[in-house]
């Protein structure tokens, strides 16, 4: 009886261990200085910040589905947030359909699905900050995707139905108050078509088209449409060397309300922006690159932003740590251009993950 009990306990323990999901923690620490007059306490000083701690719990739920959950805490004072939490149904659906449900980074453009600690150029692009908000286009919803029969091309079409939480940062304050009383945020819809091709033995190219329709102010029924075009080219002749050229352009058509509540009128405006970077990986653990951005404000085409940055990185030990440096010159509307320097240390605990294109 004792032997049977011990055997059972051992079996249960082994079973429990093999069922454990992959757990990893990534920390993003930064030292920075800048000449931004809108942040006088930081301007000209050496500032230190624990930008983010991210914990990931990932694994298969069963032979047909997996789950990915990411918790994040911004700074030492910030709250613990659920950055992403979604289940993906990978197999068992007709026509190879995949369904993802939960809270996730929406596949509007290629970069948006990447977590910011993985950016070569450290900081979120201006067009993402202005059009998606500080956390990127991250929302609760359902994603349905399918591979199209295009021979040797990998062509994926996907559709998202979104709750619209990402719009909270775009609402007018007075509208938000009214919304909380008598209106509900309408659902948003987005779609993406991405084509990937191996263009030569060592080079790959991905092109994507994205679209998003949402009501950003339910009170005044103000809607916008976003169109995106993105590209990524990577030439990787060896494990020591690679050249990546990636970028994204965005076109925004939206209704805005001009004037007072009673007498104002709705107008349509069109704005846009782009970013692009070139990154050279050399000697396997070193990289160097340049990034450029230009964009208009989503609600005022006369408000223009630009930025130019040089960046570099070094991975002392592949996978587990990386040190990056960014030197940026940036211009915002009605402000003088300023410089910024950011040093970043990213370190991670947990299992290695495969490198995605």
């Amino acid at each position: 009886m004792v032997i049977i009990t011990i055997h059972l306990l051992t079996s249960i323990t082994c079973f429990a261990q093999t069922k454990n999901p992959d757990i990893s923690v990534i920390t993003d620490f930064r030292a920075f200085s800048h000449g931004d007059a809108t942040l006088p306490q930081e301007k000209g000083e050496l500032n230190l910040n624990l930008q983010e701690i991210e914990a990931a719990v990932q694994g298969y739920l069963n032979p047909y589905a997996r789950a990915d959950i990411f918790f994040a805490k911004h700074g030492t004072a910030g709250e613990l947030e659920i950055e992403e939490a979604y289940a993906t149904f990978l197999r068992g659906l007709p026509w190879g359909i995949n369904i993802k449900a939960g809270k996730y980074l929406v596949d509007f453009s290629k970069l948006n699905t990447l977590h910011p600690h993985a950016y070569f150029f450290i900081e979120q692009p201006l067009i993402h900050q202005l059009y998606f908000g500080g956390d990127g286009l991250n929302d609760t919803g359902v994603n349905v995707s399918v591979l199209l029969p295009t021979g040797d091309l990998y062509t994926q079409a996907s559709l998202n139905v979104l709750k619209g939480d990402f719009l909270a940062g775009h609402q007018h304050e007075e509208a938000a108050v009214v919304d909380s009383l008598d209106s509900r945020q309408p659902l948003a819809y987005s779609g993406r078509l991405a084509v990937h091709s191996q263009v030569s033995e060592y080079a790959n190219l991905e092109l994507g088209l994205s679209g998003l329709s949402a009501v950003y102010d339910p009170h005044d029924d103000l809607r916008f449409l976003l169109f995106g075009f993105d590209y990524k080219y990577k030439w990787r002749p060896s494990r020591h060397t690679s050249l990546t050229f990636q970028g994204e352009a965005l076109l925004n058509k939206r209704k805005i309300f001009v004037g007072e509540e009673e007498t104002g009128e709705k107008r349509s405006i069109t704005t846009g922006g782009f970013f692009s970077y070139l990154n050279l990986q050399f000697w396997q653990r070193w990289n160097l690159g340049v990034e450029g951005e230009w964009t208009q404000s989503p609600e005022n085409k006369d408000e223009k932003y630009w930025s130019l940055a040089l960046f570099g990185g070094f991975s002392p030990m592949e996978e587990t740590s990386v040190v990056r440096l960014l030197l940026r010159r940036q211009q915002r509307p009605q402000e003088t251009a300023f410089n910024a320097a950011v040093a970043q240390l990213v370190f991670s605990l947990g299992p290695h993950k495969p490198h995605e294109f």
Partner: protein
Amino acid sequence: MKNLSILFLIVLILNATAPMAAETKSIRVVTTLMDLASLAKVVGGDKILVEALVKENQDPHSIEVLPSYMVKLRKADVFLIVGMDLDIWAYPLRDGSRNAKLLTVDCSKNIDKLEVPAYKVDPSYGDIHLYGNPHYWLDPENGKAIMATIVDALSQVAPESHEEFVRNMQAYSQKLDEKIQTWQTEMAPFRDAKIIFYHNSWPYFVQRFGLQAANFVEPKPGIPPSPLHMTRLIQQIKEQGIKVIAMEPFYDDRVPNLISRETGAKVIKLPPSVGGTKTIEDYIGLFDYNISALVEALSN
């Protein structure tokens, strides 16, 4: 009436040829490494079409998850992987292929694994594989175990060809046995010879051919060499009279060359996989090349 007869004839011909077309349909096999592809080709013969994802001198540890690989897997029947955490990138490729009928087979299942950690593994030990050292195909005896796994996999997809697969495996196993004897005879004069390897990819090979891995250029698996480690290596090579530093072609050879200049030990490049040089066209060719390179280096 004449038209009807012609139509009837066409239908008859189509019906007659349909089973033939089904019979000649090849099993599509995709492998992570070219070594598995080479062995699959031997076992499957003309019943299969096989393609490897890792080409020539790519390091199997650091393969990118490319959608173009998913396209290949989308059309495949069988996906042969090394397993033991070497080709971890195989799983997102499998998932991304959305191929519900794809049979994924871990070729390590019949292998007597070496260096399975008997302690709590963490990154302070370097890039240690939890399930043991995964470079098992570098012992030609293991080639036979891999073929047995491949026979099982192919027979699941085409049970009618099972006997043919077994015959092919037996014929190649016999050839391998003969070659193993030849290789061991060639290596016999160098029994217990000490070699510095760059990365710990060769324990199965070292065990089979009676060599000793005296040390590694990497102080721990996957960890770049430090100046202190290099100094110690130089001292060890001089003290023990080690003649050879062996490395995979895809690693940076600056540090091995520097050590070579200080010690006189010869740096040789041993491809760990089929296709590592243009002359290595199959699994037996891989050992022919590496044994020959080692014999030459150790003889001098």
